[in-house]
Symmetry: C2
Subunit: 503 residues, 2 copies
């Protein structure tokens, strides 16, 4: 009996390993499409991706999978890793099985149509084109929520897909606190006469030089080029095929080096997470980041707490100058530091600075919550959107392209995803606070360019666990408390008070 279970466990692990293998092939095809795949091959490639994805989906909902779940759930002899894989598999299985096959198929077609309509609507800045599709996407997700069931708030079911354990109750509290504190700080900065000079940021900085600098910084962060590579793309991302192959992509703007430099540091943070997952999880479904939010905590930790830190530039400003073509010759470190930390309310989330960024996310959270609780109608979105931007950021979009149509997420049916961005930022601030207790000389290490103790700490606390721990479990284990907005608020007040000499 014990032996039979051991065999069944092994068969289950082999089955999951095959799905993981197929996912690696899919990841490579995705990476390839975005880093130089010939355009005439794209149509056929999409078919290939479709077929392999369908196979993974089929395996996740097959009778074989059902049998593994049924038989293994009742045994207590599973290893800790297998038990966790089983839990994840069951969650996927239940979620996918509860949607009638016909409805799911229709939804996939809707997503694909909606995405191309959104693209056109955005180009024409015409929300009314996208409206019927967005309506259907929201309606379908509402129906799915009924199939899936919910606790407390319907929107919780969507949140759970990206950040298991995080609920409306939690977010209302922390996002409320963030908003309440950040809005007046943004206002004070907007009104401040003491603004940094920034013209020197926009001088020509050749692409290959930016690449050279970016590579040096990735190395300094501890990114392992034997287990990764850096390529160019249009919409940057990092992707982990397995811990030995985690690729970073970036974009070069020759008249604004910040795009590549901070973009690479951000994606490098994601990549460090995937490169340092424990090798015992390789070939399992747990060999990836545990949630969108925890992933974002790693990228934002590096982008903001390392890359926008003054000590980091004490070490690296000279290096940057050596790659640049004289654009910083008459700029001292203090002025450079202030310039790269300029904060200014803006309309586009992905271009926002670290202070105003959370407000962009909170607006989307409030809108999504309203939509799924029937408090906001889809047709009113442009109005609601613009009003909130005016209220929180003091700027009002002049058209839908700059407003409600700017993000791709909703066109793909991704509702509940946005909060991860601000959650990640809060996690990062909480991690930073905990790290300072173990590594009080953090700034000194940055000044020395010795980032390895930081990476090792994050690996020990976060990276190595992969999906073995849930996001809030990691947070509590590392910081001794749950979500707490104060660490981020304090960081922003302290830093921006200093950069803008507010007091």
């Amino acid at each position: 009996m014990v032996q039979a279970t051991a065999q069944l466990e092994q068969d289950f692990l082999d089955y999951v390993k095959k799905m993981t293998a197929y996912n690696e092939a899919l990841s490579l095809m995705f990476w390839d499409l975005r880093t130089g795949a010939p355009k005439k091959g794209i149509e056929q490639r999409s078919e290939v991706i479709g077929m392999l994805s369908s196979e993974v989906f089929r395996m996740s909902t097959s009778e074989e999978m059902a049998a593994y779940i049924a038989k293994l759930s009742s045994t207590e002899q599973l290893s800790e890793v297998t038990a966790k894989i089983l839990e994840e598999s069951k969650k996927d299985y239940d979620r996918n099985k509860k949607i009638p096959a016909g409805e799911y198929k229709e939804y996939v077609i809707l997503q694909s149509k909606a995405e191309s309509v959104w693209e056109e609507a955005k180009a024409k800045s015409d929300f009314s084109m996208f409206l019927p599709f967005l309506n259907k996407l929201v309606e379908t997700n509402k129906r799915f929520i009924n199939y899936w069931g919910y606790e407390g708030n319907k929107y919780n079911t969507l949140l759970d897909m990206y950040e298991p354990g995080v609920t409306v109750e939690i977010l209302d509290k922390v996002f409320g606190e963030l908003r309440e504190k950040i809005v007046p700080l943004v206002k004070r900065i907007s009104d401040s006469a003491n603004k940094p000079a920034t013209e020197f940021l926009y001088k020509k900085f050749p692409k290959d030089k930016q690449k050279g600098f970016s590579e040096e910084i990735l190395r300094q962060m501890g990114y392992n080029f034997d287990a990764g590579r850096l390529d160019e793309t249009v919409h940057p991302f990092a992707i982990g095929l397995n811990p030995g192959d985690v690729r970073v992509t970036t974009k070069y703007d020759e008249t604004d080096f910040r795009t590549a430099v901070f973009g690479t540091i951000h994606e490098g943070g994601h990549a460090l997470y995937e490169q340092n997952i424990s090798t015992e999880l390789v070939g399992t479904s747990l060999c990836t980041g545990t949630s969108m939010g925890i992933h974002e905590s790693q990228s934002l930790f590096y982008e903001n707490f390392v890359g926008r830190n003054e000590s980091f530039w004490t070490k690296n400003y000279g290096l940057l100058k050596s790659y640049a073509e004289g654009q910083f010759d008459n700029v001292d470190l203090g002025d450079f530091y202030r310039a790269i930390n300029e904060s200014k309310p803006s309309l586009i989330r992905i271009e926002a600075d670290e202070l105003t960024y959370p407000l962009h996310v909170i607006i989307r959270y409030e809108i999504e919550k309203g939509l799924f609780n029937d408090e906001i109608n889809v047709e009113d979105l442009p109005q609601v959107w613009n009003d909130k931007y005016e209220e929180y950021l003091g700027v009002r979009p002049e058209n839908d392209a700059q407003g409600v149509l700017q993000d791709v997420h909703w066109s793909g049916g991704s509702f509940g995803y946005f909060p991860s961005y601000a959650l990640g930022y809060m996690y990062a601030a909480q991690f930073k606070n905990a790290l300072l207790k173990d590594i009080p000389n953090y700034d000194q290490l940055l000044e020395q360019g010795n980032l390895l103790p930081v990476k090792e700490w994050l690996t020990e606390k976060v990276h190595k666990h992969g999906k073995m721990k849930k996001p809030l479990e990691i947070l509590t284990d590392v910081t001794g408390e749950g979500l707490n907005a104060n660490y981020l608020i304090n960081y922003l007040y302290e830093k921006y008070g200093r950069v803008y000499e507010l007091n």
Copy 2:
């Protein structure tokens, strides 16, 4: 009944399409491994490739496949394309099913061990290390031939895997003629006092400049960069993922530009084949070159009849000079042309010139034929090898690394593959002769850099058919005759007589 057959045919095509899709994913993983995949990811990647390959193999030998073959073989309503796919599927099925599963598995393990032992044996130049593995590989293939059956000669069964329809009877004749004519020509050239000067070939030519020139030549050939890309690798190859995505790889030697230039033209020839297969074959198992030999005919056509042609350099020598750093400043076109067509007996096949190359292949053919007809013992191979090199080429290897251990093929169990290289060359010469009837101003077109009519002719005659026609069918349709060594012999006599001013 008709409708039931139509449905069955469609199901079969969908089944094959899925296998084709998996093969595209495999091809991308292969390409990626050889063009910059991070080394720490290779171990896991091998597992992924193993799993996906096994799945394709499983599908090709499944009960489902057996049912399609059984049911569809008896119907006469199939489209021409489906009938051909069915024929190919049946051939694969039969071949794979005849080997007992246990023996096949053992063979796969043997191949993988043998390859790493070969690598070490070659490094140490020690045939005795490799001997027991080569013995087993040969023995296993002999056993497999018994399972598969054979007609006329046991070796025919192996030839058929790479060049269906080509037999020992045919090869004995044409390879015999080639050998008989080439050996004395090589001897005359070796004895000639009138050798070209070549020192200027070995000057420094920077990699990025070589790349620029190679790209221009690929464009001139009609290679479509919207359906391909050029990357660097160690062992160059071209690979077709689908006709819209056919990638070329090359290698740069900064002190010998010929490696990249002729290598790129050669791989470009392969790539033109794959880019120009009829779109109606996309997603089927027929969407690839019909045989190794016909594939090689396309690469050798471009490498030798285009790339080593004087008219081609009349057009492109100036261009080459514009990329080079002065190395050709004092070299006139005639001297350049003679230098790149230097012929000299050598020990290593992949470094051989176009005149001596066929002899390298013929030696391997004679040895393989002897092995599988029990006329040569594996342990005698170094002796046999060296004797043949001395007899045909007038050079004798000083050690096994330069001799019998130089090629990877046998270590992977690829017996019957080598003849394709020389067959391709003969096909190419026959195609060239047929092409001249339709395009008598061939040399003039090359002088103008107008290679498109050549590409269009080859597409019409060869490329577009994919695997719809067998190699000898293509040859007969295009040239009106079967294999005939005289075209290649005449070409070599005419050209080398001229280059070495023999008469």
